[in-house]
């Protein structure tokens, strides 16, 4: 495993540098290697899959292999669609980039443009992107990265070779974490590693961050399952849990206060809060399964209303009121 010695976050330090080392995506790697042997035939690429499965890493590896470790930055434009709001910025930067980097490198007759989180782009922005892809196709190749390819408009999909990144295998993740632990001289129990991997739900970056935090906590002492549980507890969405508990236990005003606190500090949208609630709802142990199913349906209804309505705070408040109601039903029946 090649190591980026400078980087201090392990996620970056142990990010694979060559396609060989990408974790657990063998089929994809094999197909991509064929393009590497003859870059002239490489089409636009689209990488789809859940977070933390190696999409960005694979894209970076392609850049490394095409242009070499020394030069890749000069021939690669990294754009984050959800940060660079607005297609105009994207268009300007792509235009500038393809103008200045026209010089081909070795056998590679194009520059590489990596566009992250494409499924966050609006329909009109995607249509504009399609035009950009067409007009710059002589000088550039795009690697589009997204979570769901279904959210990308058909014309773009049909212009790309689509690669679907599957959830990482549990064993492969465990092996990878153990390898990092060995290199960092972290003494960690097998159970602790498994606990991390289970919590990370197939997101390798999440797992590596948890590992690094646990190691930092113990400062050289062995890392056991207890420490990992503690770390996970600290890093889990406590405020969201608090909000739900308050609502269910009938303290609506306090639940709403916490909600505004989260929105204010983190700047989450209504949809992002709903996603958090979804995750946490099923972890609440004292709600029986039937009520969880009911609440899940209510959640779905309000998730939908959120997309139709004008005012996400109001919809979230209304949702919390529903939780209070279900909480009261539970209280009366027990």
């Amino acid at each position: 495993m090649a190591v980026n010695e400078e980087a201090l976050m392990w996620v970056e330090k142990y990010r694979p540098k060559t396609l060989e080392n990408v974790v657990d995506q063998h089929d994809i790697v094999e197909s991509l290697k064929a393009f590497m042997r003859n870059p002239k035939v490489m089409p636009h690429l689209m990488f789809a899959g859940i977070p933390g499965t190696g999409k960005t890493t694979t894209a970076l590896c392609i850049a490394h292999e095409l242009f070499g470790m020394q030069n890749w930055r000069n021939f690669t434009l990294e754009l984050n669609a959800s940060d660079e709001r607005g297609i105009d910025t994207v268009r300007e930067r792509v235009k500038d980039f393809s103008r200045y980097s026209r010089g081909a490198f070795g056998d590679v007759p194009f520059a590489l443009i990596m566009l992250d989180e494409c499924d966050q782009m609006t329909g009109p922005a995607q249509t504009a992107l399609r035009r950009i892809m067409e007009t710059s196709s002589r000088t550039s190749r795009f690697i589009l990265i997204c979570n769901q390819s279904s959210k990308i408009i058909e014309p773009i999909q049909s212009r790309c070779a689509i690669f679907r990144f599957s959830r990482l295998d549990r064993v492969a993740m465990i092996e990878h974490l153990k390898e990092i632990a060995k290199k960092e001289n972290v003494n960690i129990s097998a159970e602790a590693v498994e606990r991390i991997v289970d919590y990370a739900e197939g997101d390798l970056r999440h797992a590596i961050n948890a590992l690094q935090t646990a190691a930092a906590y113990k400062e050289g002492a062995p890392v056991d399952e207890k420490v990992v549980s503690q770390i996970i507890g600290e890093a889990s969405p406590k405020q969201v849990q608090l909000m739900l508990n308050k609502a269910i236990n009938g303290d609506f005003m306090e639940a709403r206060r916490v909600m505004y606190d989260i929105i204010g500090t983190y700047g989450f949208t209504g949809a992002e809060i709903i996603r958090q609630i979804q995750k946490e709802l099923f972890k609440i142990s004292y709600i029986p399964p039937e009520q969880k199913a009911d609440l899940s349906n209510i959640l779905g209804e309000y998730d939908y209303r959120l997309t139709q309505g004008a005012n996400s705070d109001l919809q979230l408040s209304a949702l919390l009121a529903q939780f209070s109601k279900v909480g009261k039903v539970l209280g009366e029946s027990s």
Binding site: G52, Q212, V240, T265, R305, Q322
Partner: protein, 409 residues
């Protein structure tokens, strides 16, 4: 004459009897007598109830004009304006030969009420008519600062009306009392006049409402008069809304309020938990609010006809449990506004930190927020390794302090 409105019964029929606004009256008469021939039209503007319409009627009466009137209750699209105003303004009238009537005079009341949509082209039609008219055109408005009236104002002589002075109103009330044989305490009339805030019409209406035949109108009788609010404020709207005894009452109240519906929606959402303590009632009321908001979303910027469903749902939320109403103190200003104001600094710091993480680790700000911030907070607590990490991410001391105090979402 019990059943006639005093405002009509005692409306002056000659200019001299119109009270207050002497300067405006003089200007208007001079214009009508063609001493100021520079403008074909005149725009009278000022608060309601100070005598704009009365002055026009009195002047028409004195100078023998026939008034052709259009007001807000008529639609004033281009077609409608042209249909009524064209004949009125182009013929000086056959009546010239047959009677004392000098001719027509076009009076458009409440021109500031010409709405953008239904009255499409209305302002332009009026401008055309002013350019071609042969008869005097008079317009009246409460608010002449409106953008849509800008081109119209250029063609008009502007005459400003002010609130009628209180002593003049008291005098007018006194006269009416004498004619109606009503005994009164002077303080009562003074109270009515003061509370009208210079609106003669409302003062006369109040007088009629409070006085009873054969009884003396006392100061005590007038104390119940609230300040006449020209706009129903947010607080009054909420007060009336939450106290509504049934659906109809809530609908009527919402329709009479001038509060912006987006503000209202937020204010009701902020306050409704204080109205319904019972979780079942609260959930039900909030469900109506939620549907009101969904319809608000569908209204967007053009489907205004859907607005009534917003209001209907809001009214439903008010009428979930009328019996349980107790008055309570309102939360204001809006929670959202206050929260976002006080936390702005936090959000900016967090966004900056996430950008720095993103730059080093090839991830978006959102991913940085979701799977890096939770752990970075904890890593920085380890004093030995923290400094190198801080340096690598290029975090400022302020950002480090912020991360240390940051609560997990």
């Amino acid at each position: 004459m019990k059943n006639s409105l005093w405002v009509e019964k005692y409306r002056p029929t000659i200019i001299k009897d119109v009270i207050g606004n002497e300067e405006a009256k003089t200007l208007f008469v001079e214009w009508l007598e063609n001493k100021r021939p520079t403008r074909k039209a005149v725009l009278l503007y000022g608060p309601p109830g100070v005598g704009k319409t009365t002055l026009v009627n009195a002047a028409a009466n004195e100078y023998k004009f026939r008034i052709i009137e259009m007001n807000a209750s008529d639609t004033r699209s281009e077609k409608a304006v042209t249909r009524i105003a064209d004949p009125a303004t182009s013929f000086t009238g056959l009546d010239k030969f047959s009677s004392e009537i000098k001719g027509n005079m076009l009076f458009m009341d409440e021109v500031d009420g010409i709405a953008g949509n239904e009255d499409r082209g209305g302002v332009n039609a009026i401008i055309k008519i002013i350019e071609n008219t042969r008869v005097p055109i008079i317009m009246a408005a409460n608010d002449c600062d409106l953008e849509k009236l800008r081109s119209l104002k250029k063609l008009c002589l502007l005459i400003r009306f002010q609130q009628t002075r209180i002593p003049l109103i008291i005098l007018a009330l006194k006269k009416i009392c004498e004619q109606e044989h009503i005994k009164y305490e002077f303080e009562a009339l003074e109270n009515i006049a003061t509370k009208s805030q210079g609106d003669v019409r409302s003062a006369i209406n109040d007088l009629q409402g409070l006085s009873e035949e054969g009884k003396t109108l006392t100061e005590q009788d007038t104390l119940a008069l609230g300040l006449r609010n020209k706009d129903i404020s947010m607080d009054d709207t909420l007060q009336g809304y939450f106290a509504s005894k049934n659906l109809t009452e809530a609908v009527i109240l919402l329709n009479s309020s001038n509060v912006e519906y987006d503000d209202l929606l937020m204010a009701i959402s902020d306050n409704i938990p204080r109205r319904y303590a019972d979780p079942f009632k609260l959930a039900e009321a909030y469900d109506y609010l939620s549907q009101a908001d969904v319809f608000r979303g569908r209204v967007g910027v053009e489907n205004w006809h859907l607005l009534k469903y917003v209001y209907n749902n809001l009214a439903q939320a008010a009428a979930v449990d009328p019996e349980s109403y107790k008055s309570f103190e309102f939360i204001s200003p809006p929670i959202r506004v206050i929260t976002l104001f006080w936390t702005k600094n936090k959000r900016t710091l967090l966004a900056n930190i996430c950008t720095k993480i993103g730059a080093q680790c090839h991830i978006s700000k959102y991913e940085a927020k979701m799977i890096f911030i939770p752990y970075l907070r904890l890593m920085l607590q380890q004093k030995k390794k923290a400094p190198a990490l801080i340096e690598w991410l290029k975090l400022t001391p302020e950002e480090v302090t912020f991360l240390a105090s940051l609560k997990m979402f």
